[in-house]
């Protein structure tokens, strides 16, 4: 078998040489920018320093991982990551589903399209811009929200510098940016539901709510499960970019997550080996979660993530 396979491969490569040629830039790109850093992970098991270089730095085995599991800082960022992620899932995962179901009941196409155009927009703005918008809105110096709070007899809140409310700022700004856009996948899914089902239900005298409950929602269940599995696979990504733009040292205690911690320890304090170990821990857990999710999805939904 083997020799004939290579023979055929050689024949193919000769005949379709330019097909293989086209693939070369992409493969080189992957090898250089994706796979070389994977090799670089070995520094998590070494005491890396810039002067000795990667090969000459001494091996230290699992030392950095022992330090990681004993580190109070790591325990804190791990906890923050989970808390922020779980809040985001709890509040922001169901909202787009609800919105899509409600949006589907809007029959005026002009209105529907207009609102969609507006609520999809924030998705295309960077976190820097969104952060700027919220800084102004929530500012203690003439911010609209604080003016409303004061107007209602409350005391103004320094939202970005208050450990009690900062996580809420993270979650609501993430909601403002992504909830509208999140609808799109569910709307697309609703569009594939057979219209005859609704016709039949109407003939049977089913009310709008019964139609939603018995047709729309059941039709959405597979995509909801799939999206939920995908979301859980990303549970260790609490929104690093968002937090990097929005947080400051006053709220580290509640907002420092794995991604921001790796950034600060690695690039700020140049503790390369230890921060690589933290990053590896993060990548491995993420990998296991997504593989498990894909397995479950194939088993129960007969449909893989990829």
């Amino acid at each position: 078998m083997t020799p004939s396979y290579f023979k055929r491969l050689r024949l193919d490569v000769v005949r379709e040489w330019d097909l293989y040629l086209m693939l070369i830039p992409g493969i080189l790109f992957l090898l250089l920018f994706k796979y070389t850093p994977m090799y670089g992970i070995v520094i998590a098991f070494k005491d890396f320093n810039i002067y000795d270089g990667l090969a000459a730095s001494p091996w230290v085995g699992m030392e950095h991982f022992e330090k990681l599991f004993l580190s109070e800082d790591f325990a804190r960022v791990f906890k923050n990551t989970l808390i922020i992620s779980i809040y985001k899932i709890f509040f922001l995962f169901p909202l787009p589903i609800l919105l899509a179901v409600l949006m589907n009941e809007i029959k005026n196409m002009v209105f529907k399209r207009g609102i969609q155009t507006i609520v999809y927009l924030p998705h295309f703005l960077s976190w820097v811009i969104v952060s700027g918008l919220f800084l102004q809105l929530l500012s203690t110096n003439g911010g609209l929200i604080n003016k409303m709070i004061v107007g209602l007899g409350g005391e103004s809140i320094a939202f970005f510098m208050n450990t009690e409310v900062f996580r809420s700022v993270l979650i609501s700004s993430a909601g403002w940016k992504e909830v509208g856009w999140g609808m799109i996948i569910y709307l697309a899914s609703i569009a594939t539901i057979d219209p005859q089902l609704y016709e039949a239900a109407k003939i049977d005298g089913a009310s709008r709510f019964r139609q939603i409950w018995h047709i729309t929602l059941p039709g959405l269940v597979p995509i909801i499960i799939l999206m939920f599995i995908l979301r859980l696979g990303n549970i260790l990504e609490a929104g690093t970019e968002q937090i990097l733009v929005m947080y400051n040292s006053i709220v580290y205690e509640v907002a420092d997550v794995i991604g921001t911690y790796v950034y600060r320890i690695g690039l700020g304090q140049q503790d390369y080996s230890f921060s690589t170990a933290v990053g590896l821990f993060d990548s491995v857990i993420g990998f296991i979660l997504i593989i498990t999710g894909n397995y479950l999805s194939r088993k129960f939904l007969k449909r893989g993530i990829w």
Partner: protein, 294 residues
């Protein structure tokens, strides 16, 4: 009975419309606030009088922002990175997607796995940083587009589009003696304009919005892209000492730091607003393509 359900129905429809109007308002409201601040006088902004409409209308803030040398260079850097990055990405991504869309390509499964694996696992921030430094790319503009040239997700979307192009169209080109490369450029790509438009907009928005790459690799002020410039502008205004400094400098200009931030954010958003109508035409299709690939 019939009467009751129809009243309930009307209430539902009315509240549904109200709800979505409310949602639209919530989305627009921060922008109105920002635009109002950017167009108001310094005194009005500092004393916190500005809500949704400008107070003491003036355009000096925009003049100030646009005349800033660092803002200009940041804007130009972002334009260069976005244009060059998008073009390179399109070429690289299509070149990879085409062979991988051909079932006859031997080793196809392994190549696809090589691409997909990078979506699931990565070397992480620090090993990537060390590589980029080793390559001498720190503090250069290419670092802002080279490592992001191929998004595997976008590659898979283009690949599945190519797979749906009828084989017969390519075959006729082949019979005329065209090579695979010529077939790609003269037959396949012209037939794939919708997906290429979608993907180029996705790439362009990603390059335009990226601040993280610059935050890691760029130190020199004249190489910073717009998003990083803005991020630092926001951070400096949060810092009370820097804030006092900027107030001193800006007194003479009759503009406040808040108004400068606001105007800068608006100017950085305008390019996105310009492509948004095109984006909107295509992205639903892009999302669908992404979700149906199996």
């Amino acid at each position: 009975m019939r009467q009751r359900t129809s009243i309930l129905d009307k209430v539902f429809v009315a509240s549904n419309y109200t709800f979505f109007i409310f949602m639209g308002v919530i989305t627009i409201f921060p922008f109105l606030n920002l635009i109002a601040k950017s167009l108001s006088s310094e005194a009005a902004v500092i004393s916190g009088q500005v809500n949704l409409l400008p107070v003491d209308l003036q355009f000096g803030t925009y003049a100030y922002v646009i005349s800033d040398k660092l803002f200009q260079s940041a804007f130009i850097n972002s334009v260069i990175v976005t244009v060059v990055g998008t073009l390179l990405s399109l070429i690289m991504t299509s070149l990879s997607a085409y062979p991988l869309s051909k079932p006859k390509l031997r080793g196809r499964k392994i190549f696809i796995l090589m691409f997909v694996f990078t979506m699931l696992f990565s070397g992480g921030l620090i090993p990537t940083y060390l590589l980029i430094r080793e390559l001498g790319l720190v503090n250069t503009l290419p670092v802002l587009f080279l490592p992001g040239m191929i998004s595997v997700f976008n590659m898979l979307v283009i690949k599945s589009y190519f797979e749906n192009i009828p084989e017969a169209l390519e075959e006729s080109a082949k019979i005329d003696g065209a090579s695979n490369i010529r077939t790609l450029f003269q037959v396949v790509l012209p037939l794939s304009m919708p997906v290429l438009a979608t993907i180029s907009l996705f790439y362009a928005v990603a390059f335009w919005n990226d601040f993280f790459t610059a935050m890691i690799y760029i130190n020199s002020p004249d190489l910073k892209p717009l998003q990083l410039y803005l991020k630092e502008l926001l951070a400096s205004a949060n810092n009370i000492f820097l804030k006092l400094d900027t107030i001193d400098i800006n007194m003479a200009m009759n503009v406040s730091p808040q108004a400068i931030q606001s105007a800068s954010i608006i100017v950085a958003t305008i390019p996105i607003l310009l492509v948004y109508p095109f984006l909107q035409k295509y992205f639903v299709k892009g999302v669908m393509l992404g979700s149906v690939k199996g």
